[in-house]
Symmetry: C2
Subunit: 383 residues, 2 copies
């Protein structure tokens, strides 16, 4: 951590002033000997947080690879198992390329899932732990041991996930307990048992749809209560919340709020998703992420959380300045609340993870997504 | 029109070669005395076409204006009538700014609606006809006389629309015959009568939803048949096609195909829209557009049809290369077919409206949306 003085910036779009940073936190008086940076009149905002990535899957920076998977989740999983062998990409090189892209876009923290299964063993875990250590000074990375190809239906996976936690992975993952794994109760029990034994948090991919998906979601919420995991579980995607009746949606969101479960949505283009306003109204911790970026799952993605904020607004019919500021916060402080990081930004007392963006105000930044950005991490200029 | 030789380009993503252009068309042999351009290895693609804009509404290039309208269409219309007075923007300056942005993004043709009502009279029509004349060499502009605030519910509007056609506007517009105007039969009859008297084409904004919207759509299609307007009518938006049962959707699309009615969709973020695949399968002429760009209706928009292609794919769950090539075509040759322009592009015999894009192939161009582009219009380098 470093002392830094940023002149000529507009914290949160306010009037032009000077930001003082001491030992990585924003203070209100000049710090003798601080390094100096001219902000050029830019906005100073909380740095972006990408709360859902798959760093071990990306083909970022490699030649174009035509998408080869079918439309269903099971086809995509099968396609990946084949493509892995065909591609033979270097996981550490690839993950580092995508991290560099995220940093360039102003991202200061990433939660990434990492595949664990009997074919891969703990190989990807080792790779991402290495990558995390190598980037320790420039970006916070949190890992989730992710049973992409199934958990109880893939014997040995649970032991590998528990081993991953002992190696330093922070969270236990899960995926579609009923639809992918075929046994919701066993899937959920396995995850929560590992969490109980290891003290790890939980982040479950939940793509199951409609009322059946909501039934599984209720089982997950039952487990949060039974295992006293309030405040330590994240639901990723949770399309079903956007698919069920308004009454059931309301009941689900009330339970999620009461159990302090966090929700991550990418604002997918072709599926319903949990409504941002309804989550905000209940004080649910919620965030967004890039999900897969240029991998065998999707050609989409660019690790740009400012574009993600635009997409969240575009999909939510948000047009007012307060709504555009809300999606920006969703992609920064929302991620901090989900990942358990302390509040960051350009305001007094905040940890100085800050992005400088050349825009008139926050709303315009979301709409224009200017590409010239400066990332400051713990008071150090990173890009 | 000019002769031009573009070296070092890859037409439609093929191998590197030289493009020869004579009198504005692509030919297969060198043209003596042709101007020369180094393509730098870029893709050469058909220039983009923005088939739905509102050039007379944009606030592009002005300081940020917070969105002030309510969520409903009637609230947005009322908001605009108030904002017009408040803003007092120069319509010709504003339209020219947005056209410059579109050209920078590689757009060679625009269909723009222009508001006509008893308050405005023909003022906006005069402004956009002036702007069109001033840009005659660099971009094709087609205008639609648009009764934004109502047609039969706003006496005098029909006469103004007919006068607009006599001044040089190409098409008669309409808007939500039942919901906005309160009398679908009278609205539709008025439009088609003007078209019959003047020989103008028709482009109707149709935002009406669900089965009620489809009922109105059927009335429009009845009129296409009754007035023998096959091949000369466009439906803009037509959300209802994406909202009704699969069976009714199929029937509507079959009628649309049979009557050779064109469809324009922007791939809105928060509404269903006509499915692109189903239209393609039936050979329906279909295109996309920016719609409002940074105006009192929406803060969104940047007149970038390559970003629009990405959004079309994002909203349609398109991931394969052929699907990404399809949305690119939707935003170029699709627009030509809707606007009645002859086929353009970098292939032999095509009119040389071409955009050079720095990408590996068409799919990557849609996903990456590289911003450095060169527009060639009728064989002349425009930007």
């Amino acid at each position: 951590m470093t002392d830094l003085q940023i002149d000529n910036v507009r914290p949160m779009g306010g009037t032009v002033g000077t930001l003082h940073i001491k030992d990585g936190y924003v203070v209100d008086t000049p710090v003798p000997g601080a390094a100096a940076l001219d902000g050029g009149g830019a906005l100073a905002l909380p740095a972006f947080i990408d709360a859902h990535m798959h760093l071990d899957k990306t083909l970022w920076g490699l030649p174009w690879r035509p998408h080869s998977a079918g439309k269903s989740l099971s086809e995509k999983i099968a396609n990946e198992r084949n493509a892995r062998v065909e591609l033979g990409a270097d996981t550490e090189v690839q993950a580092s390329r995508l991290i560099a892209q995220a940093i360039k876009n102003g991202t200061a923290a990433i939660r990434s899932h990492v595949d664990v299964d009997p074919d891969l063993g703990l190989g990807n875990v080792e790779h991402l732990l290495n990558v995390k250590a190598a980037h320790n000074d420039s970006i916070d990375i949190q890992l989730v041991a992710f049973p992409q190809t199934g958990l109880v239906s893939r014997p040995g996976t649970a032991d590998l996930m528990e081993a991953a936690i002992k190696m330093g992975v922070e969270l236990i993952g899960g995926i579609d307990p009923e639809v992918i794994d075929g046994d919701a109760d066993a899937h959920i029990r396995t995850i929560f048992d590992i969490a109980e034994r290891t003290g790890a948090g939980i982040d479950i991919h939940h793509h199951e749809e409609d009322d059946a998906g909501a039934d599984t979601l209720d089982l997950i919420l039952d487990a949060v209560h039974a295992y006293s995991m309030q405040g330590r579980v994240t639901l990723s995607h949770a399309f079903c919340i956007g698919m069920v009746s308004e009454q059931r949606r309301s009941t689900l969101l009330d339970r999620i709020a009461e159990l302090d479960v966090a929700v991550i949505t990418t604002a997918p283009g072709y599926k319903p998703f949990p409504p941002l306003n309804d989550m905000q109204r209940r004080g649910i911790r919620a965030a967004s992420g890039s999900d897969g970026v240029r991998d065998v799952w999707t050609p989409f993605g660019n690790a740009d959380m400012l574009e993600r904020a635009m997409l969240l607004a575009y999909r939510s019919n948000f047009r007012r300045d307060d709504e555009l500021a809300f999606v920006m916060e969703f992609c920064s402080l929302g991620g901090a609340s989900v990942m358990g990081l302390d509040a960051h930004g350009p305001l007094l007392g905040q940890r100085a993870d800050i992005v400088l963006v050349d825009a008139e105000n926050i709303a315009e930044a979301v709409i224009n997504r200017p590409t010239s950005r400066t990332l400051i991490k713990n008071g150090r200029v990173i890009s």
